[in-house]
Symmetry: C2
Subunit: 223 residues, 2 copies
């Protein structure tokens, strides 16, 4: 690990100050930098348990997938976020499968399972932080659940477009209708139909392989 | 607290053996028995934070509710289960509203928020147990989410009927179509239509205010 990564880890782990010198040394020794290309699988369900990833660069997506291949995005992780489910074997009682993939090229610090496990048994601050981390992901999932159950599809699509533009830092988003459907757990035809409606209403302009936000206010009002 | 409740608490809390005498004394001193009638609200969203409830008797339901009053059941708690969200203010980063109500008359031990909070800061075993508890509820919610997203309604209804018969210890269940719809986050008409189909197929027999399972195998095969 270079000093940049070390400093990054130091900043990203809130219980760093509570570690003993020994614990700190073990953590630094065990940590490693991993590189991912856009589309790479970082974690593939329960049987996979490499450890905690701290995202240094790039964007990572957590999603679930049905037997028939239907997907829905649960949350995204950005710089400084910690990926919990890649260490899910550490936490008892987690019996569901979350998939994690790199949405863009990404770089992350991996703290291996064994190291995390040892820390959790020794430090009440580390354990408390895991609690907070899980609560935070739980909240993300409940938000998706409430959207799916209680929110009309036009609102969900508008939220997704605005969020995506935010991630990209641009009003033009390059994404297929198929990919949007996967994020929202919907079907391509449903997305296409609603996007055409947004297009006709002047909220977005569609082009092959993407769309541009044309009336941000109207889109926001929908939400 | 009488000795029955004390013994119950002792059995239900897995980190009891790790407590100091002082911690144990504080816990017993702070704990209190609460009685609920069927239909009583035990916990009403984020602002409500009485503490952990250990269910001694009865059945308790956790659900979310939309602005328009649409509900979906997240999970049920039975004897010896611990209700986490009634102490959700303790856990940072939980920002969603779960409602908890007694489905039957119920009796529970309440460990107040302040006591739980102190324990969590002192005991790595208590903190670890909170992690497990949250992971377990998280898994319950993911299961509901996967059902809602990926499973056809006939399967979900069949699962619900079988589960309910299991709770009641009887093949005859007294429940309205309206109440089933609330559990499943659906509409009454949708439930009525599917139950009529189950009835016509000989899987259940409907009567005013309930139903009887007639062909358990056929219903199970559906799942």
């Amino acid at each position: 690990m270079d000093s940049e990564a070390l400093g990054f880890m130091h900043d990203a782990i809130p219980f760093w100050g509570n570690l003993t010198i020994e614990q700190e040394k073990n953590l630094v020794h065990a940590a490693a930098i991993k590189e991912f290309e856009a589309g790479d699988t970082i974690h593939a369900g329960e049987d996979d348990c490499s450890g905690l990833f701290i995202i240094m660069q790039g964007r990572v997506r957590a999603f679930i997938i049905s037997e028939t291949g239907k997907e829905i995005t649960l949350y995204r992780l950005l710089e400084r976020d910690i990926c919990l489910f890649s260490a899910s074997c550490i936490i008892q009682n987690i019996n569901f499968e979350v998939m994690i993939e790199a949405e863009t090229d990404a770089r992350a610090i991996l703290i291996p399972t064994l190291t995390v496990n040892t820390l959790l048994k020794q430090s009440v601050e580390a354990s408390d932080y895991m609690n907070q981390l899980m609560a935070s992901r739980f909240s993300d999932v409940m938000w998706v659940m409430e959207q799916v159950l209680f929110m009309s599809f036009d609102k969900r699509l508008a939220i997704f477009i605005l969020e995506q533009a935010n991630f990209e830092g641009s009003d033009t988003i390059e994404i297929t209708h198929e990919a949007i459907a996967r994020h929202l757990g919907s079907a391509r035809e449903v997305v296409t139909r609603m996007l055409k409606y947004f297009n006709d209403e002047g909220m977005v302009e569609l082009f092959r392989g993407g769309l541009t936000i044309k009336d941000r206010k109207k889109l926001t009002d929908l939400v």
